[in-house]
Symmetry: none
Subunit: 248 residues, 2 copies
């Protein structure tokens, strides 16, 4: 059995049964547990499943247990504060999902009057807490990992919109490869949002800068503003400033 074939089999199995054991797979496919472990490691790196001691769990099963704590929370709060200043009364704002976006939602001033459009359920619930913000949810199937709606319906709805501003929670940003991500469905939604907006803002914690994932969302040129927790004059940001991005 080829490596790719084996990994596809493992993935199928884990999605069907919600969990797999190294020992079972080893017997079933007739390779050593080491190989299975290496496969699981790889699949986990690609974000296809969740590795656990002794085996792995399907991503949808794992999301039951709502991903522990927010990583790098303080930095994200800082980014949210900066980003919030970009929103003016009366604006139509598109946002993706992710923990940084949630922090942005929390950081919005109480007196802001604006319309927020999103496919992220947790973000929508946060926006609802603000008395003067109108919330519009994009409907479609909900992706378990990201808790945002994805699919053709969602994308066609997004294309009908012209927003003033789009906030993109960023997984990886690179001066050469632009904005990249690893979930195909989520990428499609992000693409549509970026196309439907006049201005695009990338919210990026410093450690994601100069990294790349497998699927491209957009070129660097498509991004207007980059918000990080770093001061504007940080070494890391200079290449992006040179390429014409506004950095906050």
């Amino acid at each position: 059995m080829l490596k790719t074939e084996r990994q596809a089999f493992i993935l199928h199995k884990v999605n069907l049964h919600n969990r797999v054991l190294c020992s079972d797979l080893s017997l079933e496919i007739n390779v050593s547990e080491d190989t299975i472990r290496r496969d699981l490691q790889e699949l986990s790196d690609y974000g296809k499943l969740i590795k656990a001691h002794g085996g792995a769990l399907s991503k949808s099963f794992y999301s039951t247990f709502n991903a522990s704590k927010v990583y790098s929370l303080e930095n994200k709060k800082c980014i949210a504060q900066k980003a919030a200043t970009l929103i003016k009364d009366g604006m139509f704002v598109l946002t993706t999902g992710g923990t940084t976006i949630i922090e942005l939602a929390k950081a919005l001033p109480q007196n802001l009057h604006a319309t927020f459009i999103t496919g992220s359920l947790p973000a929508a619930l946060e926006y609802l807490h603000h008395p003067n913000i109108e919330v519009i949810v994009i409907g479609d199937k909900v992706s378990k990992n990201s808790q945002i709606t994805v699919g053709g319906e969602a994308i066609s709805k997004i294309k009908q919109i012209k927003a003033d501003l789009c906030f993109v929670g960023t997984n990886a940003l690179d001066a050469e490869y632009g904005l990249t991500d690893n979930d195909w469905e989520v990428v499609q939604v992000k693409k549509a949002m970026i196309e439907s907006s006049v201005k695009v803002v990338s919210l990026t914690i410093a450690e994601k800068i100069n990294t790349r994932q497998r699927i491209q969302v957009c070129d660097l040129q498509a991004i207007d503003v980059l918000v990080t927790e770093l001061p504007t004059d940080a070494e890391l940001l200079q290449p992006y400033i040179k390429k014409g991005l506004i950095v906050l």
Copy 2:
């Protein structure tokens, strides 16, 4: 059972029942109480639950904020348990919003394979916790009070669906006036859902029975099943049984 899987199970259990005992879990999962205790400690470290002597409490129950907010919680849990038995594998299920529906979402068995369609953001997030349930959100403007999507877009999407089952969280039910409610926009959505479903189930706590609100959602005839926390032979329910409703 893998460690991670076990912890997910514990978390599910504690969120469903509001509390768990080390001794129960130990028997149920078949590991020592020491292991359970260590799991609870870990989950507590991650802030997913509150550890207590002899077991643990759900975070939402412990923080008076959330617990006190849900009125008549125990009755609603009882209703949810009964209602959950109506759902079979492969079904398409439409649901409204409301606290009883949230309890239903929590009470769904882990191994249920079904598709849930809703405009309620909190309900959708609950459904997501079930690995084998597909969640579809109806998009539109979100109503601040009810946290469900309302409006023409939502209604036209609902009309395109034909579901097997529709669960309606009920505000007022009366043998003469049928199902009534007091929020015009929410009523429009409920109407559409009822029309789009083969079977309609009303989830109603006893104190809402024989009460009415200002706007009619549907006649009693449109409802197939009535689920309350009362035993089937309760005096209060007899008029409804006479009128042909199935009572659980």
